[in-house]
Amino acid sequence: MSRLLTRLLGRLPIGWLQLVHQRGRFAAALSGVAFANVLVFVQLGLMSSMGVSTLRPYQFFQGDILISAADANTLTDGGNVARQWMLQALADPDVVDGMGLFVAMVPWDRGETDISLTTFGIDPFRTAFLAPEIAADIDVLQVQDAAILDRLARGLTQEEAAAIRLQTPLSFETQGRTLTAYDTFAGGGGFVGDGYLLVSDQTFLSLFPARSSGAPDHILLRLRPGAQPDAVVDRLKTLIADPTLRIRSYADAMDEEVRFQQTQRPTGVIFGFGVLIGVLVGIVIVFQVLSADVADHLREYATFKAMGYGQGFFLGVVVEEAVILGVLGFIPGVIAGWGILTLMAKVTTLPLFISFGMAVTVFIGTVVFSALSGMIATRRLAAADPADLF
């Protein structure tokens, strides 16, 4: 290592030698950096899984424009939208078709665990609005009280899910009715519900008699191929100038919900805050270690200064230390972070993992922040006369 660094730096690797000379401090610093890395990875993992799971339900459908109530920050909240607006929107030459989308949470008493399924009521005859995987099986929904169940829902065992098919459906009681799942699709537990359920709009309305067929939760529009969703959105906004509505392209709706979940929802804010804390912990630890190291070697550094070493040399030594801490702390950090996220993913069924981009970002961040705090630690050296440092 020492030889390699000598080659690399073209000088004695003072930083490395200094670090390994004080093994206790070195080990403490490394575990500090690793700990900060784990914190950041877990929080980032949660945040990104939040993004992934937030977008999951959007992927069940295919549409270009979403009309929602003004207070609908997510697919699952907000008021209703009058169906008449869909007819208005269809007047636009670029709009080919529209579908009302109903959403509600459906509880499912599974004995020891009660789970809650985000349930979408859709028109089983409008398959163009559905993702191909779902559209293929949608015919079964034409039967009253039929459902397609999320095979990745929390609380559902793999064997149970695998057994569900047309000949061996799974029935369960909810909202005073008996729903029968004839087929399954891949959804997954999220931060809102434990899984998803698809039913026809007719079945949805019989599950929730208070809801009216004239007022779905969202209206999904499909455009003529080649039409610009943003341009159509602008036209619809003037056509339907109603402040209680929110008219967005489907893509914008997805982006806005992710941003909302990550910055407005307590969970999202907590994860963001966790990342910040992790970064701060890392900076404080590295800064502490490096400035203590500079303080301990002040006489030696002053001697080097007296010998004709400039500030660049000291910066080099401290940055060398910072990079070593950053690199060597990152390795256990990423391994432990990966382990923890994998474990959490098992328990929560959330899509928790460290992506390559995340790892690269955290690595670069660790090294850059370490180097910056190292640079700050050398500041007191810059001004002093060597003679005053002995």
């Binding site: 004695l12 030696e300 010998m307 500030q311």
Partner: protein
């Protein structure tokens, strides 16, 4: 004596420590010319200002009043870059050895070479081993300072100052921790460098036996230069 034969020229040099009420003058009106290649010893009681003068002449301290010309370069108001460049041409041996605890004897000496820039590793390793051997440390090349005696550490510090072939050596009681035999060999080495390469040495010492070998003896008392004896 023309200026080009001079290593150091100080004129009307005054220096103070502290500020306000506590401000105290440490050096008074020092005028001094030191010829290239000479071996000069500075004596004086404790607190007389020897270290202060040495650090001023060696551009380790900012000049407050007066002027110092070191190797043809004015130190008063010199820039940081000028100071750094000049320091590389000096060998400073401090009262305390100030070795780096994480570096071996050889690595500490290498620091004196490396300051001049990138260097072939083998050549510099050899140079470091050579000077340490001259100083009687051939068996201790790869020892850390913690495993060396006081005298051995001081010799490493001397090696570090001399390995880069400095133009001026400034030494603050470098032989205090050494036995006479080693001290004498260090003095001989410095005198020999003076003759061969024109290296100038200014050494603070209390050792009378070294005084006998000096070309010139300066005496400092209460911050004033009170004696200047030419022995050549």
């Amino acid at each position: 004596m023309p200026d080009e034969d001079l290593s150091i020229r100080a004129s009307a040099l005054n220096h103070w420590f502290g500020a306000g009420e506590a401000r105290k003058q440490a050096l008074f009106d020092i005028d001094l010319r030191i010829r290239r290649g000479s071996f000069i010893v500075m004596v004086g009681p404790s607190g007389s200002g020897k270290t202060t003068l040495l650090t001023l002449l060696g551009c380790l301290r900012e000049i407050q009043e007066g002027s110092v010309l070191l190797l043809g370069q004015e130190l008063r108001n010199a820039t940081t870059a000028q100071n750094v460049r000049l320091r590389r041409r000096l060998g400073f041996i401090f009262q305390a050895h100030n070795l780096h605890e994480s570096l071996t004897a050889r690595q500490n000496v290498l620091m004196g070479l490396q300051v001049k820039g990138r260097m072939d590793r083998e050549v510099s390793d050899k140079a470091a081993a050579h000077i340490l051997t001259l100083l009687g440390l051939s068996e201790r090349l790869d020892y850390l300072p913690a495993n060396l005696s006081g005298g051995q550490k001081q010799r490493v510090a001397i090696g570090r100052a001399l390995v880069g072939n400095p133009d001026v050596v400034l030494a603050d009681e470098p032989t205090a921790a050494l036995d006479w035999e080693t001290a004498a060999s260090v003095v001989d080495l410095l005198k020999q460098l003076g003759r061969a390469r024109g290296t100038t040495t200014l050494m603070v010492t209390h050792d009378n036996r070294i005084l006998d070998r000096a070309d010139r003896i300066l005496t400092l008392e209460d911050g004033r230069l009170v004696g200047d004896e030419d022995r050549t």
